[in-house]
């Protein structure tokens, strides 16, 4: 039997440990689909190690906020895994600190801090990225809210553990339209939040289309490493919410046995890699949307989420 605090620490370690690896797998799969050999799966870790050894520079005139933001944002990403079912089916004590909305708030706080740091730099691209990220975040916010409403109607709470348990309880819970629609809408939001193809090229150097990627242009050294690591962790956090709460809440530890927890620690990255493969296929099959078409993408996600709530109100969802 593992003590509960150990499991809670393992939750965080799993997310930040496996985050860059999942990014590496996605980059690899994407390259393979394009007929390239692609980087090593472990490349993101090497990148981080390299960046941590480098010197850190700050633009002239940037205040302490510029350097504090990456650390604070990373702290946010360390906090969210405590709130969501990463390893266990049973709620852990710190899981009651916040509901889905609380986790969302902490994630947006991190995004806000990075945006503020980007505004500190005075660099046009970083500022442009920050302003775009905030603009479109305001459009995707209603989608997230409606997804949370759906969860609230389905479970009468908005604790992620409760929804995961509901989904596991019967096949009828999986196939009901409200659940399918909410999961699809959340997936579209995740595509936006992780900067994937219909919204943003993930690995390009095309500054004009950049949203999230542009914000960290002026950061360097360990601070840049923290931002990169943070965005990899954020990606895995969002994947975990989609997988362990909505789509596939299986493979989690039901007891505190060490082997069950270790199995769950292996299962989560595996599931995330499968989802990452789907994302890579989407990356390769669609063109990037023009910037002003992103509202249409958000409108489609909003449609799904709203229909989910509608069907629930009719009693048949």
């Amino acid at each position: 039997m593992l003590p509960i605090p150990v499991i809670q620490v393992l939750q965080v370690l799993t997310i930040i440990g496996a985050g860059p690896g999942v990014s590496g797998v996605i980059a690899r799969v994407e390259a393979r689909l394009q007929g390239r050999r692609g980087p090593r799966v472990l490349q993101p870790y090497y990148d981080l190690a390299k960046l941590f050894r480098k010197e850190a520079l700050a633009p002239a005139g940037a205040s302490w906020v510029f350097l504090a933001a990456p650390v604070a944002a990373f702290t946010c990403y360390l906090t969210v895994p405590l709130l969501i079912p990463v390893l266990t089916t049973f709620p852990l004590p710190l899981g009651y600190m916040g509901d889905i909305l609380g986790g969302g708030f902490i994630l947006s706080l991190a995004g806000f801090l990075v945006a503020v740091a980007a505004l500190e730099t005075g660099s046009p691209y970083a500022q442009l990225g920050a302003s775009r990220a905030k603009t479109f975040a305001a459009i995707t916010e209603p989608v997230v809210l409606f997804v949370v409403f759906t969860v609230a109607l389905l479970t009468a709470t908005d604790l992620p553990y409760a929804l995961a348990a509901t989904v596991r309880s019967s096949a009828g819970q999986i196939i009901r339209p409200a659940h399918v629609l909410a999961a699809a809408a959340l997936f579209m939001v995740i595509l936006y939040e992780t900067g994937r193809i219909p919204v943003e090229t993930h690995s390009g150097t095309n500054e004009f289309g950049m949203i999230e990627e542009a914000r960290s242009f002026e950061h360097s050294g360990p601070y840049f490493a923290l931002l990169k690591w943070g965005s990899a962790a954020k990606q895995l956090i969002l994947y975990t919410i989609l997988l362990n709460v909505f789509v596939a809440p299986w493979g989690l530890a039901a007891t505190r046995q060490p082997w069950a927890v270790v199995l769950a620690m292996a299962a989560l990255p595996a599931k995330a890699c499968v989802l990452g493969g789907v994302v890579a296929v989407i990356d390769n099959s669609f063109a990037k949307l023009r910037l002003f078409k992103i509202t249409e993408f958000a409108a489609a996600a909003f449609l799904l989420a709203v229909l989910g709530v509608f069907t629930l109100y009719l009693g048949g969802g």
Binding site: L153, Q173, A299, L303, V306, T311, G317
Partner: protein, 231 residues
């Protein structure tokens, strides 16, 4: 507040298919290319057939298998083929000329039309709940979805400015009615259902004639010019 009860797997699956039909309708809303609209219409018809098969299997209504087969043959194969041939006929001698392939856009932006569509769909949803219908075949939620499909198809026909999109709007409206028929009267005599389908075939012929005629007169598929009165 109590958690919403889980429907049975059959109810859930039927409702998901109904919602997918509605989403296909919204997809036609968003599509700019007529070709893709026709493809979406075919997909929507296949979904109707899948729902019919599901209802037939669960409710033991074997004649619905026939209906599903006829639906696929007619709405997913024949009508899209005819529509595509008609559309090809309207591109004057230029097989690569795609300008005729683009559906005339409505007066509003895409995001706002989707929002209008959501509002109209919501009206359909909630107006169906007051109807005193106890389901015969598919679950009742699918009925409200079918009302939404019909209303959204109306909006599609109103806001698009080209004959072809309007025709597709009408055909998909018929899909909404088929969905409603599956819900309310799944055991409707097959002969009536098939008669309805052939009614649709008639509409295709009429619309085909209209498209040809309109294109022959105005050299375009757009209906905006029709508002000019000529003495």
């Amino acid at each position: 507040m109590l958690p919403a009860q889980a429907p049975s797997v059959y109810t859930g699956a039927a409702n998901v298919i109904a919602v997918l039909i509605l989403l296909a309708e919204f997809g036609m809303f968003r599509q700019a290319l007529l070709r893709d609209q026709v493809r979406l219409y075919a997909g929507q018809s296949v979904l109707i057939a899948v729902l019919a098969v599901l209802v037939a299997a669960v409710r033991h209504l074997p004649e619905l298998y026939v209906l599903a087969a006829v639906t696929v043959a007619l709405k997913a194969v024949a009508i899209p083929l005819v529509l595509r041939r008609l559309l090809r006929g309207t591109a004057p001698g230029h097989p690569l000329d795609v300008s005729h392939d683009i559906a005339g856009s409505g007066g509003l932006g895409l995001a706002s039309t989707v929002l209008i569509g959501i509002a109209v769909a919501a009206f359909g949803f909630f107006s169906a709940t007051v109807l005193p219908v106890s389901g015969g075949g598919a679950p009742v939620t699918a009925l409200s979805v079918s009302l939404s499909v019909v209303l959204v198809a109306f909006v599609l026909m109103i806001h698009r400015r080209d004959v072809a999109s309007q025709a597709i709007g009408l055909f998909s409206l018929e899909n909404g009615i088929s969905l409603a028929a599956l819900v309310v009267a799944a055991s409707l005599p097959l002969i009536l259902e098939v008669a309805l389908l052939f009614d649709l075939l008639l509409a295709v012929v009429v619309f085909g004639l209209l498209i040809r005629l309109h294109h022959g007169r105005a050299e375009t598929l757009s209906t905006t010019d029709l508002t000019d009165l000529r003495g």
